[in-house]
């Protein structure tokens, strides 16, 4: 479970509903080990919704997710094991230090030993003892990224990972993503800012725009 080697992560005929609104429908995708998928589309096109759906926070309104051909709906525990999620929010606690935060989340996945390396990867070692309350926006984002790196999960779902990062940190992140893929990991990221994901496929959400039609509602 903790090994970096992911196999095949796919979605078939996915549709997503947020309250009364159908955000997208009929969406298919498939990502193999070592591959990356870039989600694009204007604001409100459904990138974050899709990522939350892939993470398992939103149940698909239609369609299904598969991991190595087995539907994940039957096995949510499996899904929680193979997937790690970075949302718009950083989940930083004001009173916890950077190191404490990363160690805690790594520990939740029994990966405590990975924490320090992850901190180093995001150049946070020096800031380890700084309380979350004192972090600048970029420092917060980097802490959240360190959490993802330390998770040891094969599939990374990143919602605008580069937000607030300075140029140097972005380069670092790109290196980390590359090595994760080299280890057979999968990266699925949504972003407006350009980010180097060599050979990544792109999925433009506007293509799957959908609305509820009255009949469908009634039917």
């Amino acid at each position: 479970m903790t090994s970096g080697a992911a196999h095949r992560f796919a979605g078939v005929g996915l549709a997503c509903r947020r309250s009364e609104r159908l955000v997208f429908a009929g969406l298919d995708f498939a990502v193999e080990a070592g591959e990356a998928l870039l989600l694009t589309g204007p604001n409100g096109s459904g990138k974050s919704s899709l990522l939350r759906l892939l993470a398992g926070l939103i149940k698909p309104y239609m369609g299904r997710l598969e991991y190595d051909g087995t539907p994940l709906r039957d096995d949510p525990a499996r899904q929680r094991d193979v997937v790690v999620y970075l949302g718009h929010q950083d989940a930083i606690k004001p009173m916890l230090t950077v190191a404490e935060t990363v160690r805690f989340w790594a520990g939740m996945r029994n990966q405590a030993e990975r924490a320090d390396a992850a901190l180093a990867a995001m150049d946070l070692t020096a800031l380890g003892d700084l309380a979350g309350r004192f972090l600048s926006s970029g420092q917060r984002r980097r802490t959240a990224l360190a959490r993802v790196i330390a998770s040891g999960a094969p599939i990374w779902l990143l919602d605008e990972p580069t937000v607030g990062l300075d140029a140097q940190s972005i380069v670092r992140l790109e290196a980390v993503l590359a090595s994760h893929r080299a280890d057979g990991g999968i990266v699925i990221a949504a972003t407006h800012a350009p980010i180097a994901l060599p050979g990544a496929a792109t999925l433009n959400l506007t293509a799957y725009d959908a609305r509820f039609s009255d009949e469908a509602d009634a039917a």
Binding site: P94, A126, A131, R133
Partner: protein, 247 residues
């Protein structure tokens, strides 16, 4: 890249001067504490008359009253310092408030305990919901509240400032304590020491009482100076740490 260096307490009272002053006061206040308390205790225990109706239990007074008066004095001093800290951003003032608080709390506690020890024989109850007793208890909680508040902040600066504001608001309790005995008809003794018409108790009791009060004050001064110095030291170490971490 050049990194500018700026003194930590710039434009604030400079700690070195404080250090020198403290050094000068310290020996005297320490000495005074020992002598005054020794004399006071001697008179209180052996060379003052038992009260005609209270008997020897009156001797509790020599702890109770000084503690009570100090509990108010200290809070008053803290309030003044807090105001100074807020108006003139005087760093030492903020620190003084923090340094004095635990002492005030202790004096208040002594007053409460000695008081209730005294209350048992006098009023037949450890505690009554009398205006003065209650307001003194409130004072105790104000002290505790300040202490809890100040170190509930990760940012020392912010904690000190918040605490000072609290101290200023809490000042309302002082007049209540002082005049509760006059406003409400209370079980508790009305003022007999510090009144417009002058002291109303025997000199034989007055002497040890005054000695004890002065002794308590000297004690307070001594300990507050010690605490202030350690506070400044701690602050320097923190500054040095942050600077080191940033390199």
């Amino acid at each position: 890249m050049t990194t500018a260096r700026v003194p930590l307490l710039h434009r604030y009272a400079n700690p070195a001067a404080f250090g020198r002053l403290a050094g000068r006061i310290m020996p005297w206040s320490a000495g005074a504490t020992v002598i005054l308390l020794a004399l006071g205790i001697y008179f209180a225990l052996f060379d003052s008359p038992p009260d005609y109706q209270q008997g020897d239990s009156v001797r509790i007074m020599y702890v109770h009253v000084p503690a009570a008066i100090l509990s108010e004095l200290v809070y008053g001093a803290m309030a003044l310092a807090a105001a100074a800290g807020i108006i003139w951003k005087h760093a030492l003032a903020d620190l003084f408030v923090k340094a004095a608080a635990p002492l005030g709390a202790i004096f208040t506690l002594i007053c409460l305990v000695a008081g209730s020890l005294w209350g048992k024989p006098m009023w037949g109850a450890w505690w009554v919901w009398d205006a003065r007793l209650t307001s003194e208890l409130v004072l105790f909680f104000l002290y505790l509240g300040y202490i809890a508040l100040v170190d509930a902040f990760d940012d020392p600066q912010r904690g000190l400032r918040a605490g000072s504001i609290l101290v200023l608001v809490g000042v309302v309790d002082l007049p209540v304590i002082k005049f509760s005995v006059d406003w409400w008809n209370t079980l508790h003794q009305p003022a007999s020491l510090i009144t417009l018409s002058g002291p109303k108790i025997y000199a034989s009791m007055m002497v040890p009482l005054t000695l004890m009060i002065l002794g308590f004050i000297a004690f307070f001064v001594t300990v507050v100076i010690l605490r202030l110095e350690s506070e400044l030291l701690a602050r320097r170490i923190r500054a040095w740490r942050t600077a080191a971490a940033d390199e």
